[in-house]
């Protein structure tokens, strides 16, 4: 197999422009005026060096032409995740975003709803903008199961050929569409924070964070369909409800054999703590080492209660067993994007910032004025959280009339 990219030795003047242009550090020159070397293990074939080279001295394998007839793929699809028959808000966020994409492509917006005794819920998806809802209502689909859900979606995609397929980047969503994308040979981009249509090509421009949010990348799936993407919760705006909207409900059937599941759910235990799931929370009050002792979380709980907020925590206090793992925000915990994030006694390690820095408003309270959390804080208070938090709680209580 020949290399997909190489430097044409006769044309190269060893200027080093390609070395500077490579975003991945894949091109090196042993010394000035030496022939550059491309490290194919690092090279992503992005083409940045081709653009930079003024001497046409780099050859790259031409991009493969589409192997499928892409024009057969129409419509923008949204997977409507449901738990216990309740459609999750991520589905409405996807419909809000999907509507814009469908309109700019002049395509229909469709939702896919899988469950048991679920058909009546299709109208909720129509009210939020779906032109069509594909419903699969079977007792076997009452709760999420990897294999059966994936098999149903693979079958629907193969029969109806959507152009774009969006799914929430939830635990279920990520587990599900990874299987689907492999089987239908589709490109899948995880955790998109921005979606747009390239007016020239009609391709979906999928922008996502990598390296814990330190780098953003825009990704396309130029030669195959559907273009699949997952979207994090709370990143897109929910579609408004319009009960007057009309749409089509299509009841799908599926062969029994496709509903076969080798893995099976033995039981489900709901989260013991009654506090809100922080990935869903619009406001989060989070605590770190600065709280000094586990019982001091009580102070944050009071503030959280007044604000109707979820309770978050840094890795340090979770590792010390002050609070369960489900509250951990950051790279090894949850990524959150609330409207307001209040960080009390959290210094703001890069791993923590990676999980919360896209919050709309960040309020940081820390006694160390040099704490990295202040670099991302909308409002920073340098001071003693034991003096500040109770006053903050009292003031909110007064202002909110609670």
């Amino acid at each position: 197999m020949s290399d997909p990219i190489r430097i044409i030795v006769e044309k190269c003047v060893r200027c080093g422009l390609c070395v500077k242009a490579c975003p991945f550090g894949a091109i090196t020159q042993k010394a000035r005026k030496e022939l550059p070397i491309i490290d194919l293990q690092k090279c992503t074939l992005c083409g940045a060096c081709l653009e930079a080279c003024k001497f046409d001295a780099i050859w790259m394998q031409p991009k493969a032409a589409p192997t499928q007839d892409l024009s057969a793929y129409k419509d923008v699809w949204v997977f409507a995740e449901q738990h216990d028959g309740n459609i999750q808000s991520i589905a409405y966020e996807l419909l809000g975003e999907g509507r814009k994409l469908a309109d700019s492509l002049k395509m229909r917006l469709c939702a896919v709803l899988l469950g048991s005794n679920i058909s009546a819920k299709a109208s909720e998806l129509i009210a939020r903008g779906a032109d069509k809802v594909y419903v699969l209502d079977r007792p076997e689909l009452a709760h999420y199961q990897d294999e059966a859900y994936a098999a149903v979606l693979i079958d629907l995609v193969n029969r109806h050929k959507p152009n774009i397929f969006l799914c929430g980047a939830s635990t279920i969503g990520r587990s599900l569409v990874s299987r689907v994308a492999v089987k239908v040979k589709a490109g899948l981009t995880a955790d998109c924070t921005g979606l747009a249509i390239d007016p020239a090509t009609g391709n979906l421009l999928q922008t996502r964070p990598a390296f814990g949010g330190n780098i953003m990348a825009t990704i396309i799936t130029p030669n195959s369909r559907p273009q699949m993407a997952t979207v994090r919760h709370k990143v897109m705006k929910e579609a408004e409800v319009n009960p007057a909207r009309t749409g089509q409900v299509i009841t799908e059937t599926i062969a029994d054999v496709l509903l076969r599941n080798r893995a099976r759910r033995l039981r489900f235990e709901a989260e013991r703590e009654s506090t809100m799931n922080i990935a869903e929370a619009n406001i989060i009050v989070a605590g770190g080492r600065g709280l000094q002792a586990p019982e001091n979380f009580t102070m944050l709980r009071e503030l959280a209660e007044v604000l109707g907020a979820g309770l978050g925590a840094s890795r340090a206090v979770v590792d010390s067993n002050w609070i369960p793992y489900s509250h951990q925000v950051g790279q090894t915990g949850k990524t959150v994007c609330p409207k307001i994030y209040i960080a009390a006694g959290i210094s703001g390690q890069i791993q923590h910032l990676a999980g919360m820095q896209s919050s709309d408003i960040i309020v940081a309270i820390n006694k160390d004025a040099d704490a990295p959390i202040f670099k991302v804080a909308t409002y920073g208070i340098v001071g003693d959280l034991f003096a500040i938090i109770p006053r903050l709680t009292a003031e909110f209580r007064k202002v909110l009339g609670k």
Binding site: M1, P4, L40, Q41, C43, L45, C46, A48, D146, E147, R174, S175, L176, S178, A181, V182, K185, G187, L188, T189, A190, D191, F211, G213, N214, I215, M216, A217, T218, I219, I220, S224, A263, R264, R265, L266, F268, E269, A270, N277, N282, I283, L307, Y325, T332, G333, I340, I350, D360, I361, F374, Y379, G380, I381, V382, A387, R391, L392, E395, V399
Partner: protein, 264 residues
Amino acid sequence: MRYVVCIKQVPETTDVKINPETHTLMREGVAAIINPFDMYAIEEALRLKARTGGTVTAISMGPPQADSALREAIAMGADEGILVSDRAFAGSDTWATSYTLAMAIRKLEDCKVILCGKQASDGDTAQVGPGIAAHLDLPQITYVRKIEEINDKAIVAERLLEDGTEVIEAPLPCLLTVVKEINEPRLPSLKGKMASKKAVIPTWKAADLQCDPKCLGLEGSPTKVVKVFTPPPRGGGEVLKGEPEEIIPPLVAKLKDAVLSASN
């Protein structure tokens, strides 16, 4: 009974920046480590081996340098390491990566449980684990936080969902992705370190796998990166100074509207 752990070598820190002048990723001097989530997968494989007997095989797809990640896995107690490395794999996205790893795993005999970390700390996609399961047509249990039971036919594991824990039984072979909560990874032992120095780590190339060359590397990757950029910096905002009674009422006044709109 063979346990296979898929590991990825990643930069030690995610704090990588793009040089504003050259637009290159600045990652010089950043050490390479095993993806932190994969450490839990290695540890869990070792614990399963202690429970049932068998062997642990660590496998990594990556550049030749990933050899050191496999040696670290051996130092922790893995029995062998396999490096899947070839220029033909360059430019692989998650589709091609999961295909390549699946084809490599298919070569291993008596493979009962495949363990992966829930995601890699550089790409953060969480797609490769389930992708491998799909390519091999295996059942999967993702986000595993505890393995309750295992025998040579089946496994029972707790899976962490947003709103609770699901207990799932799956027949073997099966693929698992694990979360941090599952265990505390051990440090390498002296004996392990000796073994890792001596270990012979084979490199499997594309020609060693029974695979379709069209499904590898760039050609096998449906997605293409078209642009890499630094997100607009989130500058620090206002620093409030003074006594709590002076600064808190104006702060609360500023936040009030946001709080009210958030609770609607």
